[in-house]
């Protein structure tokens, strides 16, 4: 654990930056403007064509996994200190980073299968 701490911190900070720069606009489109009917949803064909483009695939491989690792790193502290679960450190770390890893593998697999 000690040896990969710098790597986990790097993922945390990279993911935080990606989420800060890109999530508000994506969330505004996908989560609010389109469901609320202010904008028309892109057709399946359009999205499919976009997602098969290598640049977009690379973009999604940054956009989804890095913020997941950001969450995995940061969410542990409200659990440790807020809910006073300090004694479960190892279990929480495994669950959080494991979930982020699972999300990363799923993203990669989906992008690979859509090619």
């Amino acid at each position: 654990m000690q040896r990969i701490t710098p790597l986990l911190w790097l993922l945390f900070s990279a993911g935080g930056t990606v989420a800060a720069l890109l999530f508000p606009i994506h969330l505004l489109f996908t989560g609010i403007a389109i469901p609320a009917g202010w904008l028309e949803a892109p057709s399946h064909e359009t999205l499919h064509r976009l997602m098969t483009h290598p640049v977009v695939a690379l973009y999604l491989l940054v956009l989804i996994p890095l913020p997941l690792f950001h969450w995995a790193h940061r969410f542990r502290y409200p659990l440790y200190d807020g809910l006073q679960l300090k004694h479960l450190t190892a279990l929480i770390a495994v669950l959080c980073y494991g979930a982020a890893l699972l999300g990363t593998v799923t993203t990669a697999y989906l992008l690979w299968s859509i090619r």
Binding site: S13, G15, G16, T17, A19, A20, L21, L22, F23, P24, I25, H26, L27, L28, F29, T30, G31, I32, I34, P35, A36, L39, A41, P42, H44, T46, L47, H48, L50, M51, L60, L63, I64, P65, P67, L68, H70, W71, H73, R74, F75, Y77, P78, D81, G82, L83, Q84, G103, T106, T107, L110, L111, S113, I114
Partner: protein, 138 residues
């Protein structure tokens, strides 16, 4: 911490005051700290939504239509609205923290905090514009 502690008659146990799980609501700055850390939950929430969309598109037009219909439900609209506010809170606190995490020197002098923060906001504006452009044209 692993071994069971032994208590003797005259040294029953260490005194440790129990702190309420809600300690962070007592002070504004504590609450801000916990709320800031909790923004990560909404960051993950949206990452999962995007992953879900990717999955739906891979599955085909029917799954994609179901995904769109699900996001139109009041539950998801409300969740997304709350998530949007938390993600904005994350962005603002993150940008304002950058000069503390990263000290940049240019020709021997430290670049002022305001410049680094300003560059962050400028990058935010430019990138948001680019994403909006691509999504609107698509």
């Amino acid at each position: 911490m692993s071994a069971d502690p032994h208590y003797t008659l005259y040294h029953p146990r260490w005194y440790r005051r129990r702190v309420s799980v809600w300690w962070w609501l007592r002070k504004r700055s504590y609450a801000r700290f916990v709320l800031r850390e909790l923004t990560s939950v909404f960051v993950a929430f949206f990452a999962v939504i995007y992953l879900w969309q990717l999955w739906a598109v891979v599955q085909g037009p029917d799954a994609y239509a179901r995904f769109l219909a699900r996001l139109r439900t009041p539950l998801f609209l409300a969740l997304d609205a709350v998530a949007f506010l938390f993600v904005l809170f994350h962005a603002v606190t993150w940008f304002n923290l950058t000069p503390k995490a990263m000290v940049v020197r240019l020709r021997g002098t430290r670049v002022p905090d305001a410049v680094i923060i300003g560059l962050n906001y400028a990058a935010w504006l430019v990138l948001s514009g680019m994403v909006a452009f691509v999504l609107l044209r698509a």
